[in-house]
Amino acid sequence: MPVDTLSTRLIGLRGFYRAGYRSVLAYRSDLLFGIAGLVIQAALTVIVWRVLYDGQDEVAGVGSATAVAYAVLGACIQAVVMPWQFSSLPQRVIRGQIGVDMMRPRSLISQNLAQSLGTIVGRLPIGAGGLVAGLALGGVQAPHTLLDLVASVVSMALGIANIMTINLLVSMTAFWTLEIGGVLILYRFASSFLSGALIPLWFMPAWLQPILDWLPFQAQIYAPLSIWFGTRHGAELLGTLAVQLGWVVVLFLLLQAAWRRAVHKVVVLGG
């Protein structure tokens, strides 16, 4: 019997990763509409934010160029990491295919995460389309320093890990409720608002700030973009990364606990 090594684990998960991006590419017209949609959204974002600023240099200490660039980048990242369907998990639970998944030599969590990573990679062309549109309209700024660039890329990776974990947690509601449409809409709205994908958290009222700080969502998109625009330095920068890492760890532990309960429900109660 083959022994499980790191390489067999990775190769095993490569299959799911490929399934993820191939499933995105399988619906080519959907992908093209996604790109067109984001191009329009990015262009409108640039135009609307410029109108909103209306000649003023700064609002809440944020310059017009930064606000526009933030909005474009936020929209691009969100389009890539927030597919309309987070994962095939709810369907697989409803159709009873989850039993087949449990008979695989890889854990359910790693199967699902590998597949959603693949989905994100498959959706990169959408984000690229939006980015090109933003660049063409002069709405995107590069980071000021190389350090900011590197730190924000690390921060983005942590933010994406955060999003993938929460997405999976939300999809797992299906184990208990089967129909998760309502949960998804609520989550999608809360997340795009609280993660700072829609509006930079700089503009949020002061009383809301401490609440936002204590939620995992600000570590998704607001944190990496803040670093990108050079608003965090030294200890503050390291602190931001540490908080992001902490959230990923906490969320992952939560995910494992939830999975144990879900699997218990399937194996003991029979789904």
């Binding site: 019997m1 083959p2 190769i11 295919q97 039993g99």
Partner: protein
């Protein structure tokens, strides 16, 4: 050699919310905590030897699927033990995964959006198959099941028969020593059924795979299985040889005679009873324990100008029907697992 699958005293109980009928039953069920326990599998024991092809039969709701789920490690039993190739399936779920393949006729393990070939590649990666073995085996299976015409078609566009063939290949690609087939021929046409039976026979005889086959199609059983386990209400009704089962339950056999220039209604025999007769055809029934077939045949052919005569084979379908109805009176079917 010890049996590859050992099941002893296996029991599974389910506890579900108890919905009592009446006014506002739906609304009340939101608040009540009352639960009802049903026993889906009730203390069954059996053994399966390596290389066997065994039929696992029973009416709907008998506990077949629940048993298969416990054998595959998807369900944890309430009590009793199961060992599959030396492992406890639900405890060593991941290492058990490499020992077993499964096809559930009602649901697919293939990736719905992707071409069939992609699903096979995912399975190749998942079970760390080397590329040469993968290519060779896929080649053999492709030929055996005529996959060529649809291997590059997305699974969602496949017909049921094609999808089932794809599922079979997906279950056997990594050559597991044990294969569970849960209604693999359900809803298929005669040709597709034939293909699938051919494949199952080949992986069993040619590759020595132990096969556990659940089906309602007695043709599947007659063509493939030598031994069957039949359960109902979670208990074993019969376990043993298919031929013995027939011998045990078939207490009479039928002979049909045809004649063209003779009125068949006038036929009679001291060894057999006329069951039905018209002008051209008569059916006679006799007890095979007391009367040998040739005796009846000789008696009839020597006395009547018969143009055609056939002795009907005992039909497994009838045997099973008798078994189910005799042992399971309708009144006892109160809970359905």
């Amino acid at each position: 050699m010890p049996p590859i699958i050992e099941v002893s005293d296996l029991t599974k109980e389910f506890s579900r919310p108890d919905v009592s009928p009446g006014r506002f039953a739906g609304t009340r069920s939101l608040f009540t905590r009352a639960r009802k326990t049903t026993t889906a599998v009730d203390g069954i024991s059996f053994q399966i030897d390596a290389g066997e092809l065994i039929g696992f039969l029973g009416p709907n709701g008998a506990g077949k699927s629940t048993t298969i789920k416990m054998l595959t490690g998807i369900l944890v039993p309430t009590s009793g033990t199961v060992t599959v190739a030396g492992q406890v399936p639900w405890r060593d779920r991941r290492s058990n995964a490499r020992t077993i393949g499964a096809v559930f006729g009602q649901r697919t393990q293939l990736w719905y959006d992707l071409p069939l070939r992609d699903s096979f590649e995912i399975i190749r990666d998942l079970y760390s198959m080397d590329p040469v073995t993968y290519r060779t085996r896929l080649g053999q299976f492709t030929e055996l099941l005529d996959l060529d015409e649809f291997i590059d078609t997305p699974v969602r566009s496949l017909s049921l028969g094609q999808r089932m063939r794809g599922d079979l290949v997906a279950a056997m690609l990594y050559a597991p020593p044990i294969l569970y087939l849960d209604e693999p021929t359900v809803g298929l046409d005669v040709v597709a059924k034939g293909k699938i039976r051919e494949f199952v026979a080949e992986v069993n005889a040619g590759r020595g795979t132990t096969v556990i086959l659940t089906t309602h199609d007695m043709d599947d059983v007659e063509r493939l299985c030598r031994r069957v386990v039949i359960i109902d209400h979670g208990k074993i009704l019969y376990e043993g040889d298919v031929e013995l089962l027939k011998a045990q339950y078939v207490t009479s056999r039928d002979i049909v005679v045809h004649c063209t220039d003779f009125d068949a209604t006038t036929i009679s025999s001291p060894f057999a009873q006329v069951v039905s007769a018209d002008t051209v055809k008569a059916t006679l029934r006799f007890d095979p324990d007391t009367t040998a077939v040739p005796k009846v045949v000789h008696d009839l052919t020597s006395r009547y100008p018969i143009t055609d005569l056939s002795v009907l084979e005992p039909d497994l379908e009838d045997v099973i029907r008798r078994l189910y109805t005799e042992r399971t009176p309708a009144a006892a079917r109160s809970t359905d697992a």
